[in-house]
C-alpha cells in the first residue's frame, strides 16, 4: 500500500507547475530533434544539460528524459515521409511507412505511429510502476548465454524481414555480419579489416549504414523518375489521417504484441530498443496470414515496431534507475546528469528517494500525453513538407544526412562511407537485395560474437552453459520451436509452390515502382 501512496506523491510532484512546464519543454525539444534526421537525442540532451544546473534535480531529470523519449516520437517522421531514418529503429518503421507515403497515406501512417508510440510508452510505464524491482532482478539473471540465444533468435527472424529471394535475404544477413566484423576484436584486441584507418577501430558507424542504404540510396533512386514522381500528399484533413474501423482493428494486436516485446527486451541492459523493434517487426510479418503485404505499406508493419520502440525506451529506464546500469550511451549520459545533480541511481534510489523516482515515472506518463497532444496537430505540418518540390527537398536531405553523419564523431571519413553505402544501397535496390536483413546482421553479429565468446569464457569452454540455466533452456526451446515451424512452412510452400508463382510477374512490376 505504501507504494500507492508513493505513486500519488509522484503524480503530485509531476503535476506541479514547474515539472509540467519543463516536461513540456523537454518533449517539445525532443520532438523537433527527433524529426531532424541524424541529430541524435544525445546531442540535444548534452546541450540542455547545463541549462538544468539551476533546476531542482527532479525537474531537471524530467526535462532531460522528456527530450529522450520525445525524440523517439519524432524519429519516425523523416523516415516515413522521406525514407531518411535518423535512427535504426526508424529504419524499421520506414520499411512500411515510406510505401504508405508513396501511396498518399502519409497522414495515416504518422497518426498510427503517434498512437502506437503512445500506447507502447504508456503500457510500459504502467509495467514499470508495478514491476520495477522484479524487472531489475530478472535483468540480472540474464548472462551472456541468454543474450546470445536471444540474439540468435533475432538473427533467425532477420532473414524473414526482407521480401523476395530467401537466398538474397540470407546473403544480406551475411554481408551485414561481414561489415560487423570491422573493428577491434574485444577478446583478443586484434584489429580486423580496419586497413589501418583509426576511424574504423570502433567499427563502421551504424548511422552511416542506415543513412546510406536508406537515405542516400532513396535520393539517388528518386531523382531519376522525378517527373513521374508527384509527391502524393493526399488530403490533409483530420479525417484522412484517422484510421477507419477496419484499420483500427488491424493495428490493435500488433501494437500490444510490439509493446510486450519492447517492454521485455528494453529492460535488458545493453540490447535495447533496436533489437526489440526489429523483432517486433519480424514477429508481425511471421505470424501474418499475408506476409507479402509487408514492405508495401502494411499498417501492422509500422504499428508493432513503433509500439516496441517506445515501450523499450521507457522500460530501458528500469535498469538505469534501479540498478544504476545504463543500457546505452544516452542512458549513461542521463545517469551522469543525475550524478551531477547529486542523485545516485542504483538499488537504494527507489527506497531513499521515492518522491523523485515516482515523480519521474509519473512525468513519463504525463510526457506521453503531452506528446500525443503535440504530435497530432503537427502531422498536418509534416505532411505538407511533401508538397515542397523534390528538387529543393533532396539537396536539403543530402545536407541533413551529411551533417547528421558528420556530427557523430566529426570524421570526414563517415561522409565518404555514407556515400559508398548509398551506392551499395542503390545497387541492392535495383537487384532486389533487401536492406533490412543487412542492418540486423550488422547490429547483432558483433554482439553475438561477444556474448558467445564470453559465455564460453565463463563456463571455461563448456557448451553446457547454453542449456544448464533455466532461462536459457526456455530460449533454446523457443529457438528450436521456431526452427521446426519454419521447416514446416518451407515443406508446405514447396508442396504448394507451383500455383502461387503464376501471379508473380504482375506483382513484380508493381513493387518495382514503389521501391
Amino acid at each position: 500500500m505504501e507504494m500507492y501512496a508513493d505513486i500519488l506523491i509522484g503524480f503530485e510532484r509531476a503535476l506541479s507547475f514547474d515539472a509540467l512546464l519543463f516536461c513540456f519543454i523537454g518533449v517539445t525539444i525532443g520532438t523537433f530533434v527527433g524529426v531532424l534526421p541524424g541529430v541524435g537525442a544525445l546531442a540535444a540532451v548534452s546541450l540542455c544539460l547545463p541549462m538544468t544546473y539551476y533546476l531542482d534535480p527532479t525537474v531537471a531529470m524530467i526535462m532531460l528524459a522528456g527530450i529522450f523519449y520525445g525524440a523517439q516520437y519524432g524519429s519516425s517522421t523523416a523516415s516515413i515521409l522521406l525514407n531518411v531514418p535518423g535512427t535504426v529503429t526508424a529504419a524499421v518503421t520506414a520499411l512500411d511507412g515510406y510505401p504508405m507515403t508513396q501511396q498518399g497515406r502519409a497522414g495515416l501512417a504518422l497518426f498510427v505511429t503517434t498512437i502506437c508510440s503512445f500506447v507502447g510508452g504508456s503500457i510500459a510505464i504502467i509495467l514499470m510502476m508495478g514491476f520495477t524491482p522484479l524487472i531489475a532482478r530478472a535483468a540480472l539473471s540474464f548472462s551472456s548465454a541468454e543474450y546470445f540465444l536471444i540474439m540468435a533468435f533475432g538473427l533467425f527472424l532477420a532473414s524473414t524481414i526482407g521480401s523476395g529471394s530467401q537466398l538474397k535475404s540470407l546473403a544480406m544477413v551475411a554481408l551485414g555480419l561481414t561489415l560487423g566484423l570491422v573493428g577491434t576484436d574485444l577478446n583478443s584486441g586484434v584489429s580486423r579489416f580496419t586497413f589501418g584507418q583509426v576511424e574504423l577501430y570502433d567499427g563502421i558507424s551504424l548511422v552511416t549504414i542506415a543513412m546510406g542504404l536508406f537515405g542516400v540510396a532513396e535520393i539517388l533512386n528518386s531523382i531519376v523518375d522525378d517527373t513521374s514522381r508527384k509527391p502524393a500528399t493526399g488530403k490533409i484533413t483530420f479525417k484522412s489521417m484517422l484510421p477507419s474501423k477496419a484499420e483500427w482493428k488491424v493495428i490493435v494486436k500488433p501494437t500490444l504484441r510490439g509493446t510486450a516485446i519492447g517492454a521485455v527486451i528494453g529492460a535488458l541492459p545493453g540490447s535495447g530498443a533496436t533489437i526489440a523493434t526489429f523483432i517486433a517487426y519480424a514477429v508481425e510479418k511471421r505470424q501474418s496470414k499475408t506476409p507479402e503485404r509487408f514492405g508495401k505499406g502494411a499498417l501492422e508493419g509500422i504499428a508493432a515496431p513503433e509500439a516496441a520502440n517506445n515501450s523499450a525506451v521507457q522500460s530501458a529506464f528500469v535498469p538505469t534507475l534501479s540498478l544504476g546500469i545504463p543500457g546505452d550511451a544516452l542512458m549513461a549520459f542521463l545517469l551522469g546528469a543525475m550524478m551531477i545533480h547529486g542523485v545516485v541511481p542504483g538499488p537504494r534510489f527507489l527506497i531513499d528517494q521515492p518522491q523523485m523516482f515516482w515523480g519521474l515515472v509519473a512525468s513519463f506518463w504525463i510526457g506521453n500525453v503531452l506528446l500525443l497532444i503535440l504530435n497530432i496537430p503537427l502531422i498536418g505540418v509534416w505532411v505538407r513538407m511533401l508538397s515542397i518540390p523534390y528538387n529543393i527537398l533532396f539537396p536539403a536531405m543530402l545536407f541533413f544526412i551529411c551533417i547528421g553523419v558528420y556530427s557523430i564523431e566529426y570524421q570526414v571519413f563517415d561522409i565518404a562511407l555514407v556515400m559508398i553505402f548509398g551506392i551499395v544501397g542503390l545497387v541492392m535496390n535495383r537487384l532486389a537485395y533487401p536492406a533490412a536483413p543487412l542492418l540486423l546482421g550488422f547490429i547483432l553479429g558483433p554482439m553475438m560474437e561477444e556474448h558467445f565468446k564470453r559465455a564460453l569464457l565463463m563456463s571455461r569452454g563448456s557448451f553446457s552453459i547454453f542449456w544448464e540455466r533455466p532461462i536459457s533452456v526456455v530460449l533454446l526451446a523457443l529457438l528450436a520451436g521456431l526452427l521446426l515451424l519454419s521447416a514446416r512452412a518451407i515443406w508446405k510452400s514447396q508442396r504448394a509452390a507451383s500455383p502461387s508463382s503464376l501471379s508473380e510477374p504482375q506483382m513484380q512490376s508493381q513493387t518495382k515502382d514503389t521501391q
Binding site: L36, A43, A44, S163, G164, S165, Q166, L167, K168, A171, L175, T178, D185, N187, S188, V190, R192, F193, V216, I219, L220, N221, I223, D226, P291, E292, Y390, N391, F394, P395, A396, L398, F399, C402, I403, Y406, S407, Y410, V412, I415, A416, M419, G422, I423, V427, R430, L431, A432, G445, E449, G461, S462, I490, S493, S501, E504, P505, M507, Q508, T511
Partner: protein, 155 residues
C-alpha cells in the same frame, strides 16, 4: 519460403546480377582468407579469425546459391541513374573536403549547389537560392541552435 517475386521468371538475368553475386562470392573468400590469417582458434576458444572464416564461407556459399538461382531469372538491367550518381557523389565529396577547412556555411553552399544539379532540369538560379537557403538554415539550426563545435566560416 515465400513466392520468389523478385527473381522474375521469364526475364533473363543481366550481367549486373551475375557481377554482384560474383562480387559477394569473392568478398566472402577474401574475408575467410583474411580471417584464417589472424588465428581461428577452436570452437571452445575462438580466435579473432573464427567468425570471419565462418561468415566469409557462409557469404561465399550463399553467393554461389544466388548464382545458381539466377539461371532461372533475374533483373535484366541495372538502370543506374548516372547523372544523380555523379552529382551526388561529387556534392557529398565536396562537403567532406571543405567542411573542416572552409567551415560549415561554405561547405553547405557547395553541397547544395552541386547536389541540386543531380536533376537535369535544375536552373542556376534555383540551385543558388536552394543553397543559400540551406546554408542559412544550417547556420541557425546547427551553429546557433545546437552549438555544434563547427566553424561557420574558416579561421
Amino acid at each position: 519460403m515465400e513466392p520468389q517475386e523478385n527473381t522474375e521468371p521469364g526475364q533473363r538475368s543481366g550481367p549486373w546480377e551475375y557481377a554482384v553475386a560474383a562480387a559477394l562470392f569473392l568478398l566472402g573468400l577474401y574475408v575467410a582468407f583474411e580471417g584464417a590469417n589472424v588465428g581461428v582458434g577452436t570452437l571452445r576458444r575462438m580466435g579473432p579469425g573464427f567468425l570471419p572464416v565462418a561468415v566469409g564461407c557462409g557469404l561465399a556459399l550463399l553467393a554461389l546459391g544466388i548464382l545458381f538461382e539466377l539461371r532461372s531469372g533475374g533483373r535484366p538491367k541495372l538502370d543506374a541513374p548516372v547523372r544523380p550518381l555523379v552529382m551526388v557523389t561529387l556534392s557529398l565529396g565536396t562537403f567532406a573536403a571543405t567542411v573542416a577547412p572552409l567551415g560549415l556555411v561554405p561547405a553547405t553552399l557547395l553541397l547544395a549547389f552541386i547536389g541540386a544539379f543531380a536533376e537535369r532540369a535544375m536552373t542556376l538560379r534555383r540551385a543558388g537560392l536552394t543553397a543559400i537557403g540551406l546554408a542559412a538554415l544550417g547556420y541557425v539550426v546547427f551553429i546557433l541552435g545546437f552549438k555544434l563545435p563547427l566553424d561557420a566560416f574558416w579561421g
